[in-house]
Symmetry: C2
Subunit: 459 residues, 2 copies
């Protein structure tokens, strides 16, 4: 059976694959710091050369205003798959907290088995190499690729992807595929593989309440002049009701209850709310009453206060009555919620709550709709089954409380449905000192892609 041969090829070549990853990890491709510009260039060149070694002869760097994209295409039949990963990494500060040089990666033994230690091991060099290694094994065994594959590797993911949108716009045609595979997420827990099918959207607002035209002395005006801190607090306290629901009119328009299939699956997940909260020294869920943590994190919208300031905030005390107070407020969005409609409704509500002599001004901090990937597309069930076979435990569809911009952009700009599959673990310490990637995740991740490629070509 040909898949078995590919899997065997992966097993037998794990050492070589690991050596290639270690070589890749030695490149200091920190995208946010211009001191590492040449390192980013070298990482892109390393990928181009590795793709060439696979037989992807058209692989090349594509210049952007900052760090290059790497793009390459194989020949092959339908389906056309677009694979995305990123070769840039986070800075390594505070470097003294690393047990060793972050760019001198090694295989270390740990209680939970061997780990690959080094910056980028999990985010995202190790992850993107699982896909390349799966393709390499396939090619070695079959002399060709399972289908048409486009590789796309970004070098600016950790620094806000400034070149991504213009690049996608410009290369829309070339990148248009039947399905996009993104390897930048994690397992559901240390044993259960997952496909992320929902990403929350985000709306950012900054509101400033102005009362008197200048700061006042509380001896001269205290008790008589309106206090903007009090007004802002009153407004904030009215944005949720007692049950935790958000009170902005029409806010829940486009929010749907979970499909029964997901609801059942999520309720069956072994997610320990107590541990999840205890990690940050909390005991009780604080959101909408009657919902589980996963439901709230993955499928419910939020209104959160990210910052507040007003008056004298330094040491000691000052009897000032501030002229204004400001809050930064963000909304995580789900389903079909329309960020711009919500922005309008939010501002309208704030203004309706203003007492005499107060005005509200707003700064817009960007917005993006939630992403929902249609799991009735048979590719999802095929991939989920492949993951289940590899990990020997039922793979699950999960949501994600945060945002992964590339997913929405591929869907929005290119028109290609993305499928988010990854093999990171919660304890990988990505973005932190001592990042690692379990050797088992690298190995089984590679095998997973081989199985998924086999499954997708059969649909």
């Amino acid at each position: 059976m040909s898949l078995e041969t590919v899997l065997l090829q992966i097993d037998n070549n794990l050492n070589e694959a690991t050596s290639r990853l270690l070589e890749f990890l030695r490149i200091r491709s920190i995208s946010t710091d211009s001191a590492y510009k040449n390192d980013c260039e070298r990482a892109a060149e390393w990928l181009v050369s590795d793709l060439h070694s696979l037989g992807v002869n058209n692989a090349r760097k594509v210049k952007t205003p900052r760090h290059p994209m790497v793009m390459g295409h194989t020949d092959g039949d339908q389906p056309h798959l677009l694979f995305y990963g990123h070769y840039d990494v986070q800075p390594v500060d505070p470097v003294h907290l690393w047990h060793k040089d972050p760019f001198d990666p090694t295989i270390e033994d740990s209680e939970a088995g061997a780990v690959i230690r080094g910056r980028g091991a999990s985010d995202d060099k190790g992850q993107l190499m699982t896909f390349i290694e799966a393709c390499r094994a396939w090619k070695t065994v079959h002399k060709n690729f399972p289908c048409k594959i486009t590789f796309l590797f970004e070098g600016e993911e950790e620094s806000g992807s400034p070149s991504l949108i213009p690049f996608l716009e410009e290369n829309k045609k070339t990148l248009k595929a039947d399905l996009a595979l993104i390897c930048d997420t994690g397992l559901f827990d240390s044993r259960v593989p997952a496909i992320t099918t929902m990403l929350r959207g985000l709306l950012g607002e900054e509101v400033t309440i102005q009362g008197p035209s200048k700061d006042l002395h509380s001896g001269s005006y205290g008790g008589v002049a309106i206090n903007p801190i009090r007004v802002l607090s009153q407004i904030i306290s009215k944005l949720h009701d007692d049950s935790g629901r958000i009170t902005i009119p029409n806010f829940y328009e486009g929010v749907h209850e979970l499909p029964a299939q997901l609801q059942t699956q999520w309720r069956n997940l072994e997610f320990n709310e107590t541990h999840f909260l205890r990690d940050v020294d909390l005991c009780e869920l604080a959101g909408e009453s009657g919902r589980t943590a996963l439901e709230m994190l993955w499928s419910r919208p939020t209104c959160e206060y990210n910052g507040i300031r007003g008056g004298y905030c330094g040491e000691g005390f000052k009897t000032v009555l501030p002229a204004k107070a400001t809050a930064k407020i963000s909304f995580r969005l789900v389903g079909n919620q329309d960020p711009e409609k919500i922005r309008v409704q939010f501002r309208k509500m704030v203004r309706s709550l203003l007492p005499a002599d107060c005005t509200a001004s707003f700064i817009e901090h960007g917005s993006g709709k939630a992403s929902n990937f249609d799991i009735s597309n048979p590719a999802f069930e095929a991939a989920r089954q492949a993951l289940t076979d590899e990990w020997d435990i039922e793979a699950v569809y999960t949501g994600c409380g945060g945002s992964i911009p590339i997913a929405g952009l591929l869907q929005g700009i290119i028109g290609t449905t993305p499928m988010l599959i990854g093999f990171g673990k919660d304890n990988d310490q990505i973005h932190s000192p001592n990042e690692k990637y379990d050797l088992q995740c690298f190995h089984k991740g590679t095998r997973s892609w081989a199985r998924i490629l086999a499954a997708l070509t059969k649909i």
Copy 2:
């Protein structure tokens, strides 16, 4: 008639008195800046020498850890009067906003008549000299003082009076008098003289609400973890009811309605609420419903928010869920409100409003009771009548929204009732560039003290 002779002496010597004040104003006695330490010393010496020239031969500097006090006593009969003023001045920054050198004082013509322009002209050198000049005129005419007088001049009033309490404690016996006269306040408006008989007290609290043990990512915990900004806002929004009353249990214990005499007097004062609010671009009173601005400022307690901060307050946006949020809250107190009882009740109420997983911690920012001076003491009516005679308009008892620590300290430590009388105007620009004191205020202020001395010795 002897008082008329004294007043004539004052009128005839106005030029000499003004020259002495200008000389005094040339001394750069900025107490908060150690670069001016010698200037403060010189100002104290100038006062000692001026008191000697009056015949107060025991006048002397009294060393403190920072700037000296000046103290002197006259012989004389009952009543024993203690007079307080301060010789130190505020810094002059921003100096470029002054029309001229702040320490080269001159008499200038203005639309409203001649003014003495220079730092300290009104606060407080010009004011304290009104009393000295009145005593000088009296002594010249009568060859002795009207009664026993103790002069006390401080050099640290503008820098927090660090030496004042120990000094009062140490000199309790010497300073014990029948009445203290403090000249550091103003007229009610530009025509109406006033005796300040109520000063609000102050209680400062800083409260920090802690939720999770560290800042969280709103993608990972948003909607599930408690948000301390929301909790703090909810608490703040519950500290007042809809009518503007403070909801802390027992908060109004010790708050009395105004005596009918004061109520009538205040309602008859020509105080333009519209102008008062318009000065800071407000239109409506924001405090307790059904009360006038003066009632609220002078006789009602407040709960004000002086500062708030939490989470990310810089430019742009950060999807952080903050671990904590902090507010600085102050209470202006009146009547017999007990600051320490209110502190306890406030903290208890905050704690009672905490949801699960939140804790509150507090920083104490000092406290002082309100001061109320008993106007049934016949000295008050005598002084008020003297002021009425001089200014040819009914003098009034007023309150003061702020705090003047010396008044409470004289009452508390020395056991002497203070009477606050001053001749400053709202437009004197004290603490600001181009400080001035109306020549008429200096002149009529001096005449006022002569009348008050005459009245008090007759009680």
